[in-house]
């Protein structure tokens, strides 16, 4: 009986991060850690994960990810892309693998994580909560709030699904609207019943690792 329980627990623990795509660490350019992977589904989409410094005194880094796009020879990263393979688990597992990769050489650093739209921010917190046991094996997780209210910009997008065009509204967080006074109100241990309050999530490698 104990054996079965242990086996199941081990199986569950490995499940989420095992979904990660094969990423490539592309190197560090001007302090930005760059990773690349390919999302596979109805089409192949090249995605990147970046980890870059926000504050060097506290060693806080920000993680970003999006589609690497080339429109008329202009290359950019789009983190509001309408094109995806509905592989959120695989994409997020890959992002977490990149974060763990980063922590191997930067064990005392902190990663700040937030979604740039309301939908994605909620989705990411749901995914963190549903995989909390696995993530907590390696990471200290905290949730934070900001004093100022974050403005939301509504953007209309036309997307094509199964050959049909659909209109959708993206509620993007306008963090550029903060002006000069932005203050962190609180940081607390990540509490799954309070995630709707968190405007950002912090990851740090567990001390005993």
């Amino acid at each position: 009986m104990i054996f079965i329980f242990t086996y199941k627990l081990k199986y569950i623990k490995l499940d989420f991060l095992d979904k990660a795509y094969s990423y490539n660490f592309e190197g560090i350019t001007n302090e930005v850690y760059q990773f690349r992977f390919i999302s596979v589904g109805t089409q192949e989409i090249t995605k990147i994960v970046s980890i870059s410094p926000i504050n060097k005194n506290l060693n806080w880094y920000s993680v970003g990810f999006g589609n690497l796009e080339n429109h008329e020879n202009t290359i950019s990263v789009n983190d509001l892309a309408e094109i995806n393979n509905n592989d959120y688990d695989e994409v997020l597992a890959t992002v977490f693998m990149c974060i763990l990769h980063f922590f191997i050489s930067n064990p005392n650093h902190t990663i700040l994580f937030f979604g740039n739209t309301l939908h994605k921010h909620r989705l990411y917190k749901q995914k963190i909560s549903s995989n909390i046991i696995i993530l907590k094996q390696y990471l200290e997780i905290s949730g934070g709030k900001i004093e100022q209210e974050i403005k939301i910009i509504e953007k209309r997008q036309t997307i094509t699904r199964k050959g049909k065009e659909h209109e959708r509204t993206i509620r993007e967080k306008d963090l550029t609207s903060f002006g000069n006074s932005v203050e962190i109100k609180s940081i607390e241990k990540y509490n799954m019943s309070k995630t709707s309050d968190y405007q950002f999530v912090l990851f740090k490698l567990k001390k005993d690792l």
Partner: protein, 67 residues
């Protein structure tokens, strides 16, 4: 134990990735620059949070108490 598990996890992933990425083209300078630009814009959004030594000290204390 945990540290070894983490290293194994990352090393397994690197091994899997090395096979997957073998022979595929490297990222171009333009692509690396585009990622860098994106990353710096993303980081900039939270830079103001640390714009004074007092704020940095307060954040440090809040973070430590949450660990």
């Amino acid at each position: 134990m945990g540290a070894k598990q983490l290293r194994d996890l990352v090393e397994n992933q690197i091994e899997k990735s090395t096979n997957f990425w073998a022979g595929r083209p490297k990222m171009t300078i333009q692509e690396l620059e585009a990622v860098e630009k994106f990353a710096k814009e993303k980081s900039k959004l939270f830079e103001k949070v640390f714009d004074s030594p007092e704020k940095i000290d307060k954040i440090n204390k809040m973070q430590n108490s949450a660990l």
